[in-house]
Amino acid sequence: MSADKVKGHLDLLLLAILSTAPGHGYAVITQLRERTDGLLDLTEGAVYPALHRLEDLGFLASEWHPVNGRRRRLYRLTPSGHNALAHQRAEWQSLTQAIGNVVRSAPARTAEA
Protein backbone atom coordinates (compact mmCIF):
# COMPACT_ATOMS: atom_id res chain seq x y z
CA MET A 1 0.00 0.00 0.00
CA SER A 2 1.45 3.38 -0.97
CA ALA A 3 2.67 5.90 1.57
CA ASP A 4 0.03 8.40 0.42
CA LYS A 5 -2.79 6.06 1.47
CA VAL A 6 -1.16 5.46 4.84
CA LYS A 7 -0.42 9.13 5.50
CA GLY A 8 -4.00 10.11 6.23
CA HIS A 9 -4.28 7.40 8.87
CA LEU A 10 -0.81 7.57 10.36
CA ASP A 11 -1.96 9.26 13.58
CA LEU A 12 -4.53 6.52 14.19
CA LEU A 13 -1.98 3.79 13.50
CA LEU A 14 0.59 5.29 15.85
CA LEU A 15 -1.93 5.87 18.62
CA ALA A 16 -3.23 2.32 18.23
CA ILE A 17 0.23 0.78 18.45
CA LEU A 18 1.27 2.86 21.44
CA SER A 19 -2.02 2.17 23.23
CA THR A 20 -0.83 -1.35 24.01
CA ALA A 21 2.55 -0.38 25.47
CA PRO A 22 5.02 2.51 25.42
CA GLY A 23 7.63 2.25 22.68
CA HIS A 24 10.37 4.07 20.81
CA GLY A 25 10.21 5.02 17.15
CA TYR A 26 11.98 1.98 15.74
CA ALA A 27 9.83 -0.40 17.80
CA VAL A 28 6.67 1.37 16.62
CA ILE A 29 7.70 1.00 12.99
CA THR A 30 8.66 -2.64 13.48
CA GLN A 31 5.30 -3.38 15.06
CA LEU A 32 3.51 -1.52 12.28
CA ARG A 33 5.29 -3.66 9.71
CA GLU A 34 4.70 -6.91 11.60
CA ARG A 35 1.02 -6.28 12.32
CA THR A 36 0.33 -5.42 8.68
CA ASP A 37 2.54 -8.19 7.27
CA GLY A 38 4.60 -5.48 5.57
CA LEU A 39 1.59 -4.24 3.59
CA LEU A 40 2.00 -0.66 4.74
CA ASP A 41 4.87 0.86 2.81
CA LEU A 42 5.97 3.81 4.93
CA THR A 43 9.15 5.86 4.88
CA GLU A 44 10.47 5.20 8.37
CA GLY A 45 11.72 8.74 8.87
CA ALA A 46 8.19 10.09 8.40
CA VAL A 47 7.13 8.52 11.68
CA TYR A 48 9.22 10.84 13.85
CA PRO A 49 7.64 14.16 12.83
CA ALA A 50 4.25 12.45 13.29
CA LEU A 51 5.20 11.27 16.80
CA HIS A 52 6.49 14.73 17.68
CA ARG A 53 3.30 16.34 16.38
CA LEU A 54 1.16 13.98 18.45
CA GLU A 55 3.26 14.93 21.45
CA ASP A 56 2.73 18.64 20.68
CA LEU A 57 -1.02 17.93 20.63
CA GLY A 58 -0.75 16.33 24.06
CA PHE A 59 -1.75 12.84 22.83
CA LEU A 60 1.70 11.39 23.61
CA ALA A 61 4.30 11.98 26.28
CA SER A 62 7.93 10.96 25.95
CA GLU A 63 10.91 10.20 28.15
CA TRP A 64 14.48 9.21 27.40
CA HIS A 65 15.52 5.76 28.57
CA PRO A 66 18.51 3.55 27.90
CA VAL A 67 17.32 0.43 26.07
CA ASN A 68 19.82 -2.29 25.11
CA GLY A 69 22.70 0.10 25.72
CA ARG A 70 21.26 2.81 23.47
CA ARG A 71 19.48 5.98 24.58
CA ARG A 72 15.96 5.98 23.22
CA ARG A 73 12.95 8.22 23.45
CA LEU A 74 10.01 6.20 24.69
CA TYR A 75 6.52 7.40 23.79
CA ARG A 76 3.37 6.58 25.72
CA LEU A 77 -0.26 7.53 25.31
CA THR A 78 -1.65 10.21 27.60
CA PRO A 79 -5.29 10.22 28.74
CA SER A 80 -5.98 12.72 25.93
CA GLY A 81 -4.29 10.31 23.55
CA HIS A 82 -6.62 7.49 24.65
CA ASN A 83 -9.62 9.77 24.03
CA ALA A 84 -8.24 10.76 20.61
CA LEU A 85 -7.70 7.10 19.75
CA ALA A 86 -11.28 6.22 20.72
CA HIS A 87 -12.60 9.10 18.63
CA GLN A 88 -10.45 8.33 15.58
CA ARG A 89 -11.23 4.61 15.84
CA ALA A 90 -14.98 5.32 15.82
CA GLU A 91 -14.55 7.59 12.78
CA TRP A 92 -12.49 4.94 11.01
CA GLN A 93 -15.06 2.22 11.70
CA SER A 94 -17.88 4.44 10.41
CA LEU A 95 -15.89 5.22 7.28
CA THR A 96 -14.92 1.63 6.52
CA GLN A 97 -18.48 0.46 7.15
CA ALA A 98 -19.87 3.11 4.79
CA ILE A 99 -17.33 2.33 2.08
CA GLY A 100 -17.84 -1.42 2.65
CA ASN A 101 -21.58 -1.06 2.15
CA VAL A 102 -21.02 0.55 -1.25
CA VAL A 103 -18.24 -1.75 -2.37
CA ARG A 104 -20.06 -4.91 -1.28
CA SER A 105 -23.15 -3.91 -3.26
CA ALA A 106 -21.15 -3.82 -6.51
CA PRO A 107 -21.25 -7.11 -8.47
CA ALA A 108 -18.03 -9.08 -8.04
CA ARG A 109 -16.21 -9.77 -11.28
CA THR A 110 -12.90 -11.47 -11.82
CA ALA A 111 -10.33 -9.46 -13.73
CA GLU A 112 -9.74 -10.90 -17.19
CA ALA A 113 -6.31 -11.23 -18.69
Partner: protein, 258 residues
Protein backbone atom coordinates in the same frame (compact mmCIF):
# COMPACT_ATOMS: atom_id res chain seq x y z
CA UNK B 1 43.05 5.99 8.64
CA UNK B 2 39.27 6.14 8.48
CA UNK B 3 37.32 7.71 11.31
CA UNK B 4 34.80 5.38 12.98
CA UNK B 5 32.00 7.67 11.77
CA UNK B 6 33.16 7.49 8.14
CA UNK B 7 30.23 5.24 7.35
CA UNK B 8 26.94 5.78 5.49
CA UNK B 9 25.08 6.39 8.76
CA UNK B 10 27.84 8.72 10.00
CA UNK B 11 27.67 10.79 6.82
CA UNK B 12 23.87 10.87 6.98
CA UNK B 13 24.00 12.15 10.56
CA UNK B 14 26.52 14.82 9.52
CA UNK B 15 24.07 15.97 6.86
CA UNK B 16 21.20 15.87 9.33
CA UNK B 17 23.22 17.90 11.85
CA UNK B 18 23.90 20.55 9.23
CA UNK B 19 20.27 20.60 8.06
CA UNK B 20 18.86 20.95 11.57
CA UNK B 21 20.89 24.00 12.55
CA UNK B 22 17.90 26.24 11.96
CA UNK B 23 15.74 24.20 14.35
CA UNK B 24 15.59 25.03 18.06
CA UNK B 25 18.64 23.35 19.69
CA UNK B 26 16.64 20.89 21.78
CA UNK B 27 14.49 19.72 18.88
CA UNK B 28 17.59 19.32 16.72
CA UNK B 29 19.39 17.36 19.43
CA UNK B 30 16.43 15.06 20.04
CA UNK B 31 15.91 14.43 16.33
CA UNK B 32 19.58 13.56 15.86
CA UNK B 33 19.61 11.20 18.84
CA UNK B 34 16.38 9.47 17.78
CA UNK B 35 17.51 9.15 14.19
CA UNK B 36 20.87 7.69 15.16
CA UNK B 37 19.28 5.15 17.53
CA UNK B 38 16.77 4.20 14.83
CA UNK B 39 19.36 3.77 12.09
CA UNK B 40 21.71 1.76 14.32
CA UNK B 41 18.81 -0.48 15.42
CA UNK B 42 17.77 -0.98 11.82
CA UNK B 43 21.33 -1.75 10.68
CA UNK B 44 21.87 -4.12 13.64
CA UNK B 45 18.69 -6.00 12.68
CA UNK B 46 19.91 -6.38 9.10
CA UNK B 47 23.33 -7.58 10.31
CA UNK B 48 21.61 -10.11 12.58
CA UNK B 49 19.98 -11.41 9.40
CA UNK B 50 23.41 -11.85 7.82
CA UNK B 51 24.04 -8.55 6.01
CA UNK B 52 27.48 -6.97 6.00
CA UNK B 53 27.89 -3.74 7.98
CA UNK B 54 28.09 -1.44 4.95
CA UNK B 55 25.08 -2.97 3.18
CA UNK B 56 23.13 -3.03 6.45
CA UNK B 57 23.69 0.70 6.91
CA UNK B 58 22.73 1.48 3.32
CA UNK B 59 19.54 -0.57 3.76
CA UNK B 60 18.68 1.25 6.99
CA UNK B 61 19.13 4.61 5.26
CA UNK B 62 17.07 3.59 2.23
CA UNK B 63 14.16 2.60 4.49
CA UNK B 64 14.50 5.71 6.61
CA UNK B 65 14.28 8.28 3.81
CA UNK B 66 16.32 11.37 3.09
CA UNK B 67 17.28 14.38 5.17
CA UNK B 68 15.32 16.48 2.69
CA UNK B 69 12.18 14.47 3.53
CA UNK B 70 12.65 14.55 7.28
CA UNK B 71 13.81 18.06 8.14
CA UNK B 72 11.11 20.05 6.28
CA UNK B 73 8.47 17.98 8.10
CA UNK B 74 10.06 18.83 11.42
CA UNK B 75 10.43 22.46 10.39
CA UNK B 76 6.77 22.68 9.42
CA UNK B 77 5.85 21.22 12.78
CA UNK B 78 8.08 23.53 14.76
CA UNK B 79 7.92 26.73 12.69
CA UNK B 80 10.68 28.85 14.13
CA UNK B 81 9.10 31.78 15.97
CA UNK B 82 9.52 35.03 14.05
CA UNK B 83 11.08 36.58 17.12
CA UNK B 84 13.83 33.95 17.16
CA UNK B 85 14.46 34.30 13.42
CA UNK B 86 14.58 38.08 13.80
CA UNK B 87 17.07 37.63 16.64
CA UNK B 88 19.32 35.44 14.48
CA UNK B 89 19.22 37.90 11.60
CA UNK B 90 19.81 40.86 13.91
CA UNK B 91 22.80 39.21 15.58
CA UNK B 92 24.40 38.27 12.26
CA UNK B 93 23.63 41.71 10.84
CA UNK B 94 25.30 43.31 13.87
CA UNK B 95 28.47 41.28 13.35
CA UNK B 96 28.61 41.80 9.60
CA UNK B 97 27.72 45.47 9.99
CA UNK B 98 30.50 45.92 12.56
CA UNK B 99 33.06 44.24 10.32
CA UNK B 100 31.87 46.19 7.29
CA UNK B 101 32.07 49.49 9.19
CA UNK B 102 35.56 48.66 10.47
CA UNK B 103 36.76 47.97 6.93
CA UNK B 104 35.37 51.38 5.95
CA UNK B 105 37.42 52.78 8.84
CA UNK B 106 40.51 50.96 7.55
CA UNK B 107 39.90 52.48 4.12
CA UNK B 108 39.80 55.87 5.89
CA UNK B 109 43.31 55.21 7.22
CA UNK B 110 44.43 54.31 3.70
CA UNK B 111 42.75 57.43 2.32
CA UNK B 112 44.54 59.51 4.97
CA UNK B 113 47.90 58.11 3.86
CA UNK B 114 47.11 58.87 0.23
CA UNK B 115 46.10 62.40 1.27
CA UNK B 116 49.41 62.90 3.08
CA UNK B 117 51.39 61.70 0.07
CA UNK B 118 49.38 63.09 -2.84
CA UNK B 119 47.39 65.94 -1.35
CA UNK B 120 43.65 66.56 -1.37
CA UNK B 121 43.26 66.27 -5.15
CA UNK B 122 44.43 62.67 -5.01
CA UNK B 123 41.46 61.87 -2.79
CA UNK B 124 38.59 63.88 -4.26
CA UNK B 125 37.62 65.91 -7.29
CA UNK B 126 35.45 68.99 -7.09
CA UNK B 127 33.33 69.80 -10.15
CA UNK B 128 33.06 73.54 -10.84
CA UNK B 129 29.27 73.34 -10.78
CA UNK B 130 29.39 72.31 -7.13
CA UNK B 131 30.99 75.59 -6.01
CA UNK B 132 28.22 77.99 -5.01
CA UNK B 133 29.18 81.43 -3.65
CA UNK B 134 27.72 80.54 -0.25
CA UNK B 135 29.80 77.34 -0.01
CA UNK B 136 32.92 79.16 -1.14
CA UNK B 137 32.44 81.83 1.52
CA UNK B 138 31.98 79.18 4.19
CA UNK B 139 35.00 77.07 3.11
CA UNK B 140 37.28 80.09 2.79
CA UNK B 141 36.26 81.34 6.23
CA UNK B 142 37.20 78.00 7.78
CA UNK B 143 40.68 77.55 6.29
CA UNK B 144 43.55 79.44 4.71
CA UNK B 145 43.24 78.37 1.07
CA UNK B 146 44.43 80.13 -2.08
CA UNK B 147 41.04 79.93 -3.75
CA UNK B 148 37.58 78.40 -3.46
CA UNK B 149 38.52 75.26 -5.43
CA UNK B 150 41.44 74.50 -3.11
CA UNK B 151 39.26 75.13 -0.07
CA UNK B 152 36.59 72.78 -1.44
CA UNK B 153 39.17 70.09 -2.15
CA UNK B 154 40.52 70.28 1.39
CA UNK B 155 37.05 70.25 2.91
CA UNK B 156 35.86 67.28 0.87
CA UNK B 157 39.07 65.31 1.41
CA UNK B 158 38.80 66.01 5.14
CA UNK B 159 35.19 64.77 5.13
CA UNK B 160 36.15 61.66 3.17
CA UNK B 161 38.95 60.66 5.54
CA UNK B 162 37.32 61.56 8.83
CA UNK B 163 33.90 60.37 7.74
CA UNK B 164 35.31 56.91 7.11
CA UNK B 165 37.24 56.95 10.38
CA UNK B 166 33.99 57.81 12.16
CA UNK B 167 32.24 54.88 10.47
CA UNK B 168 35.12 52.64 11.58
CA UNK B 169 34.70 53.84 15.16
CA UNK B 170 30.98 53.12 14.95
CA UNK B 171 31.92 49.62 13.76
CA UNK B 172 34.09 49.08 16.86
CA UNK B 173 31.20 50.19 19.09
CA UNK B 174 28.83 47.87 17.21
CA UNK B 175 31.26 44.99 17.70
CA UNK B 176 31.38 45.70 21.44
CA UNK B 177 27.57 45.72 21.49
CA UNK B 178 27.52 42.44 19.55
CA UNK B 179 29.88 40.75 21.98
CA UNK B 180 27.86 42.07 24.90
CA UNK B 181 24.64 40.63 23.40
CA UNK B 182 26.40 37.32 22.82
CA UNK B 183 27.43 37.11 26.46
CA UNK B 184 24.00 38.15 27.70
CA UNK B 185 21.94 35.85 25.46
CA UNK B 186 24.27 32.97 24.63
CA UNK B 187 21.42 30.66 23.54
CA UNK B 188 20.33 32.80 20.59
CA UNK B 189 22.85 31.96 17.90
CA UNK B 190 23.15 33.90 14.66
CA UNK B 191 22.62 32.50 11.19
CA UNK B 192 24.87 29.62 10.20
CA UNK B 193 28.53 30.57 9.55
CA UNK B 194 28.20 29.27 5.98
CA UNK B 195 25.43 31.81 5.32
CA UNK B 196 27.17 34.75 6.98
CA UNK B 197 30.56 33.98 5.41
CA UNK B 198 28.99 33.67 1.96
CA UNK B 199 27.09 36.94 2.40
CA UNK B 200 30.21 38.74 3.65
CA UNK B 201 32.43 37.35 0.86
CA UNK B 202 29.92 38.41 -1.80
CA UNK B 203 29.37 41.87 -0.33
CA UNK B 204 33.10 42.58 0.05
CA UNK B 205 33.85 41.19 -3.43
CA UNK B 206 31.24 43.44 -5.04
CA UNK B 207 32.48 46.46 -3.05
CA UNK B 208 36.13 45.69 -3.84
CA UNK B 209 35.63 45.21 -7.57
CA UNK B 210 33.31 48.19 -7.83
CA UNK B 211 35.67 50.60 -6.07
CA UNK B 212 38.70 49.21 -7.93
CA UNK B 213 36.87 49.81 -11.20
CA UNK B 214 36.02 53.39 -10.23
CA UNK B 215 39.61 53.96 -9.12
CA UNK B 216 41.06 52.71 -12.41
CA UNK B 217 38.48 54.78 -14.28
CA UNK B 218 39.58 57.89 -12.37
CA UNK B 219 43.23 57.12 -13.14
CA UNK B 220 42.47 56.90 -16.87
CA UNK B 221 39.84 59.60 -17.30
CA UNK B 222 40.93 62.19 -14.72
CA UNK B 223 44.65 61.55 -14.64
CA UNK B 224 44.44 60.19 -11.12
CA UNK B 225 42.50 63.06 -9.59
CA UNK B 226 40.10 61.71 -6.98
CA UNK B 227 41.22 58.13 -7.60
CA UNK B 228 42.45 57.86 -4.01
CA UNK B 229 38.96 57.74 -2.53
CA UNK B 230 38.29 54.53 -4.51
CA UNK B 231 41.78 53.04 -4.46
CA UNK B 232 41.91 53.43 -0.68
CA UNK B 233 38.74 51.35 -0.34
CA UNK B 234 39.36 48.66 -2.98
CA UNK B 235 42.39 46.92 -1.36
CA UNK B 236 40.69 46.82 2.04
CA UNK B 237 37.49 45.35 0.57
CA UNK B 238 39.44 42.85 -1.53
CA UNK B 239 41.51 41.83 1.49
CA UNK B 240 38.29 41.23 3.43
CA UNK B 241 37.00 39.22 0.45
CA UNK B 242 40.13 37.06 0.58
CA UNK B 243 39.68 36.47 4.33
CA UNK B 244 36.05 35.39 3.94
CA UNK B 245 36.78 33.28 0.85
CA UNK B 246 39.51 31.49 2.83
CA UNK B 247 37.09 30.86 5.71
CA UNK B 248 34.49 29.55 3.27
CA UNK B 249 37.02 27.29 1.57
CA UNK B 250 38.03 25.87 4.97
CA UNK B 251 34.40 25.20 5.88
CA UNK B 252 33.75 23.49 2.55
CA UNK B 253 36.90 21.38 2.93
CA UNK B 254 35.77 20.34 6.42
CA UNK B 255 32.61 18.85 4.91
CA UNK B 256 32.84 15.04 5.02
CA UNK B 257 34.14 13.40 1.85
CA UNK B 258 31.62 11.07 0.19
Amino acid sequence: MNHPDDSPIGFFLDDLFEATRALPPRDARYLLAETEAHLRDSADAAMADGAQSYEAELGALAAFGTVDDLVPRESRRIRMPLRRLAGQILRSAMLLGAIGAMTVGASGVAAGLIYLIGGASSIVTVPAAALTPQDCARWLSQQAAANCHQAALSDWAFETVYGRLAVGLAGVLLLIAYRSCKRRWPGNAGLTPMVTDTAAALAFAVAGLWTAGLGVDAMIVSGGQGAGQWLSAAPVALAATAVYCTRLAKRIRQEPVR
